[in-house]
Structures are given as C-alpha cells and as structure tokens.
Symmetry: C2
Subunit: 180 residues, 2 copies
C-alpha cells in the first residue's frame, strides 16, 4: 500500500509532548513537486465496550479540553511503550470502571485522523465483567464519572450529542448491529 | 456539559500550520491542581458516502504521510473558513470523484480524537449521483485514485485493513446496518 508514495525530503520535530509529538515534513509528491505535511505522532490507544451481565454499557463522562466540554465515551486510554493492546485494554477498563473482564474480544482497529495523525485505536468488547476489589487508580489528572446505560439510552445520547466521538459512535452502531 | 471543567491558566501557541495549529496549555483541574494539555486545533471536515445508482460505493485511495502508507477511504476534506458543511461535502465529492449528488443527507457528526484534537467530522450519504461534465480539480498536492465497490467488497477491504480509518469503518458498518 505505497500508491502515490510521498518521499520525505526533510523532517523537523516541532514539539515533543507527554502525549503527542509534532513533525513538520517536506515531501516529494508523485509528480515530482514538493509540499509540506504536518504530522502528529501518537502512541496509539485502546477503547473498550464494557457490557455488564444485565446488558448495560459502562460509559465514562470526562472533560475534553480540546473541545472545552465533557463527553460521554466508552473507556479508552493510550498504549504504554511496548504494551500489548489487550493488556492496555484490561488496565484501562479496571482503572476507569473498576471492572475486569473474562471475555475480551477484539472488534476492529482504525486510524482516527489519517490526514494529520498516526493515532491507531484498537477497539475491544468486554463481557463477563467482574468488579475488582481494589482497582488500580486512574492517572492523577484524569477525572471521570461512571454511568451504565442501556443500548436504547446510548442511542438517545448519540442523538443529544453527549456521545459525540468516533469510537463511541462506532461502538453504539456496532451494538445496534450485532446485539449486546 | 462542563462536568470536571478544566480552566485555562495559560495557553501557548507552539505551531501554526496550513492544516493544524498546536497549543500547549496549563490548566487547573477540578481538584485545584494543575496539569498540561497538548491541543491540536483543526478546522473540521466532512466525509461523504457516495452510493451510485447501481449500488456501488465510491471510494478513493490516497497516500497518508502520517501512516507512510495509502488507505482506501470515503471522500473527505477540510472545511474552508465559514463554509457550511453541506457545501463542503458537495465540493469535495465533485473534486475527488467527479460526481454531484441530488440527494445529500446528514448521517452523523463526531469528533475523531477528543483527547488531543478538536477535529469534528460531518458524515453525509450522497445518493442520486450524476457525473459533472467539467468537475472542479482537487488540491494541487492531492493524488487520489477512484474505485467503486460493492458493500461486500467494502467489508472485505475492512478485513484486509485497506479500509482502516474511523470514518470509513463507520460508513461501511452504517451501510451494513441501514442498507444501501
């Protein structure tokens, strides 16, 4: 999959952060001309659709500074360096919801914004949930509120734009298609 | 939707590009402590599911520099300043595929990466397509190859990870759910 490949002529690191790095690259286009590309490097992430034994979806509400508002989302989190995505999924599920899962299944992986970022999200569905007695705590700067909702309620949250992000919209559509 | 609001204490513009800007902000957390947020500002985008009269989906293959590979995606493009999303959708559809649509319907809008970016994508389905005689040309640095595929072929492209981004994965699942 190298069709219309753009060769890197120059790559400048503009910023190295806690979460993302920013590169500014000069590339050679397929027609020989040059152009500039702005590229966000991201470690990748997981997202989990936790389904409880009584057919509720566990969601988290949290503030999203880029949007200056809070969203209701399925639990998610960044991959640690070298961490296997399935392990990240179980860790984030426990940290954000206090649950562990005995039946974690990969649903799909996708890039979120391939035009400017390399973030890849691995989506899992977590069933056979069990409350952990002393769950790992979330990151220090993470404040989330848990909610459990039916699929019908989740569909309503999509309409109300409280659920308003790609991975959670995909998750709700997936449950509508495949059932809980 | 201001739950767990994070107040901006300081905002530094690290980079202003053609497509994105990068901010580095110091915020006050709900517990009074401070933290840093890395924020990508994006103008927003549209994506279009073009369905031809013989029930094919029009896709574009293009190179994505952040991934160093090409992807098969539904047509998409950035909002121009002040441009109404529906107008952007018709413009991008024409530029990338040479089609216009007499039946353009909003499907859903979602943020792609709310953890670090404010990109909002508006997804449309375009039916009643008609070839434009002298279509507007794509941007100078855009090289895309058109393909038309059945829903079955699109599902196969998802499995092969040639379709590998959130908006196109959502679009294919949507068509599976609602039909063409």
């Amino acid at each position: 999959m190298k069709k219309f490949e753009e060769k890197t002529l120059q790559s400048e690191t503009i910023f190295e952060g806690k979460v993302i790095n920013l590169l500014h690259e000069e590339v050679q286009l397929p027609n020989g001309k040059t152009s500039k590309r702005e590229i966000v490097k991201h470690p990748g992430a997981v997202a989990i659709i936790p389904v409880t034994k009584d057919n509720k979806i566990v969601m988290v509400e949290q503030y999203r500074k880029p949007l200056e508002r809070s969203l209701v989302e399925i639990p998610a989190g960044k991959l640690e360096k070298g961490e296997e995505p399935k392990r990240t999924a179980l860790r984030e599920l426990e940290e954000e919801t206090g649950y562990t899962s005995h039946e974690l299944t990969h649903v799909i992986s996708f890039y979120t914004s391939p035009g400017f970022a390399d973030e890849l999200i691995h989506l899992y569905i977590a069933k056979d949930l069990e409350k952990v007695e002393s769950p790992m705590a979330p990151d220090e700067d993470e404040f989330v509120e848990l909610m459990e909702c039916t699929l019908e309620e989740a569909n309503q949250l999509v309409i109300e734009q409280k659920i308003y992000d790609a991975k959670t919209a995909y998750a709700v559509l997936y449950l509508n298609t495949k059932g809980m």
